[in-house]
């Protein structure tokens, strides 16, 4: 079976800084692949390329066998939402002028959910999934703690049932007990829905605990692969 996501010979340069210098990564369906590297090694850049926020200089990213960077607009519109991303700085991952509720509703509405009553139930289900309560829904991001925001971000992304999630240090802000909670929730969702993760982290203990495989990024290249 072909991998869900295949990165081939990815190269990315910022001005004269060659951040990625020919990277190959495969992620299978239902797999959690860890991406380890020191700060500035280009982990986030890999994630941004996958999520379509950055165009590589050369190389390709195949999702279900199709090159993401060579798709027509129409195709992109259909395929893109299946790949979601959680960011390194969740504190600016939510619009400061939208309440948690509206941030959760936004993706649902964009994807054509218009029944108001079931919408509220859906939001409540999502917020419970990540261990938050109704009272958090009425708050603006400024009135949520860092960890609470991160969980809203996760709930928001889960609302459109993505098949692949790039998680860029999703727990580096969280205290250990909530980190454990979030990682276990991500695991549970994987088991239920078969999503794949690219889990970016610089905490090797975390990666060893939750990933099926870990790739090591160094000087713009993959320097090693470890099977858990």
């Amino acid at each position: 079976m072909p991998p869900l996501l295949r990165i081939k010979n990815l190269v990315k340069t910022f001005e004269d800084n060659k951040v990625l210098n020919g990277i190959d990564i495969d992620v299978k369906k239902g797999e959690t692949l860890g991406l380890f590297g020191s700060s500035g090694s280009g982990k986030t850049t890999v994630g941004r390329c996958i999520a379509g926020l950055e165009r590589s200089d050369s190389g390709s990213i195949f999702f279900k066998g199709k090159d993401l960077q060579a798709m027509s607009r129409r195709e992109k519109k259909k395929v893109r939402p299946q790949i979601q991303m959680i960011f390194q700085h969740p504190e600016i991952s939510l619009n400061p002028r939208m309440k948690a509720f509206d941030s959760l509703v936004e993706p649902l509405k964009i994807h054509g959910w218009d029944d108001k009553c079931s919408l509220e139930n859906k939001v409540e289900e999502l917020i419970n999934l990540v261990g938050l309560r109704r009272e958090h829904l009425a708050r603006y991001p400024a009135h949520l703690s860092g960890g609470e925001i991160q969980r809203v971000v996760l709930a928001r992304i889960l609302s459109i049932n993505p098949e692949f999630i790039v998680a860029d240090e999703p727990t580096s802000m969280l205290d250990v007990s909530v980190q454990a909670q979030v990682l276990r929730i991500m695991e549970k969702i994987q088991q239920e829905k078969g999503v794949s993760y690219l889990l970016i982290s610089h905490d090797i203990d975390v990666l060893r605990k939750v990933c099926h495989r870990i790739v090591f990024l160094k000087n713009g290249r993959i320097s090693g692969v470890e099977n858990a």
Partner: protein, 310 residues
Amino acid sequence: MSYLNVSSLCVDFLTENGSVKAVNDISFEMKKGETFGIIGESGSGKSVIGQAILRLLPSNAVVNGSISFGAEDLLSLDNKNMRQIRGREISLIPQNPAGSLNPLLKNKIQVAEVFEVMGVNKKEGIKSVLGMLKNLLMKEPARILENHPHELSGGMKQRFLAAMCLSYKPSLLIADEPTKGLDSFSKKGTLDLFRHMKGEHGNSILVITHDLDFALEICDRVAVMYAGQIVEVGPVTDILQIPSHPYTKALLNALPRNGLIPLHGHTPSRIDLPDGCLFYTRCNLRSDKCGTERPATKSIKGGVVRCHLY
């Protein structure tokens, strides 16, 4: 004499849904030269304590209790004197480095602006920040100053901000999550720098962190917080090796190397606090008394704990 003394501090936030008890009757003291840690779950109120000390809370906050710093009572100081203390005497490295930098300005200009406000020569300011950046083990500090904030990765932003705060040589440094987002290599750099500040300058440091390993390395004593209350205070080695409070025990079990075991259940609502122990619903060692009577703090060897078991 204690240097920073926080006693019976309560911070409530008034919101549409009621008042959120973010910090609920907290007392601790720091001696001069001490490195004191506050650890605890996300949302437990750690950052709020730091902001309360510097009086940087949003306007919907209601603060009660007292905070004294040397001879000054910080909560009753007028704004002018408070501004004198902020930055010069007490400096805060905020939790959110991304939000603290103006995205439109080159890093160098941000540094210059800050020093201008502080009344320090810009060139000297930039020089001392460069020195600090080297201290923090940043590669190419000069290039960092020429960049815009968005060109730095998360860890770099954090260290840049830390260097800026440390370069005014405050006597009390409040560091909110100084290792957040750093890889192990940079974490070591931060650790070295904090040790340097402690040893060389006799700085007192209040470290707010959820990084238990970092706390163990750098702190002399730590307070463990849960749902706005301190549940345990004591020497760091005691707390992180032979914890007393059931919450601290659970926290240690959540470390990846101890099994990544999450706590079951939820933290209690901070609007309607339960009558009994705040940890009651999640505690494996609870008894009936815990559900009805809020435990008070008790002194035990070397520290205090808030639990009916003691």
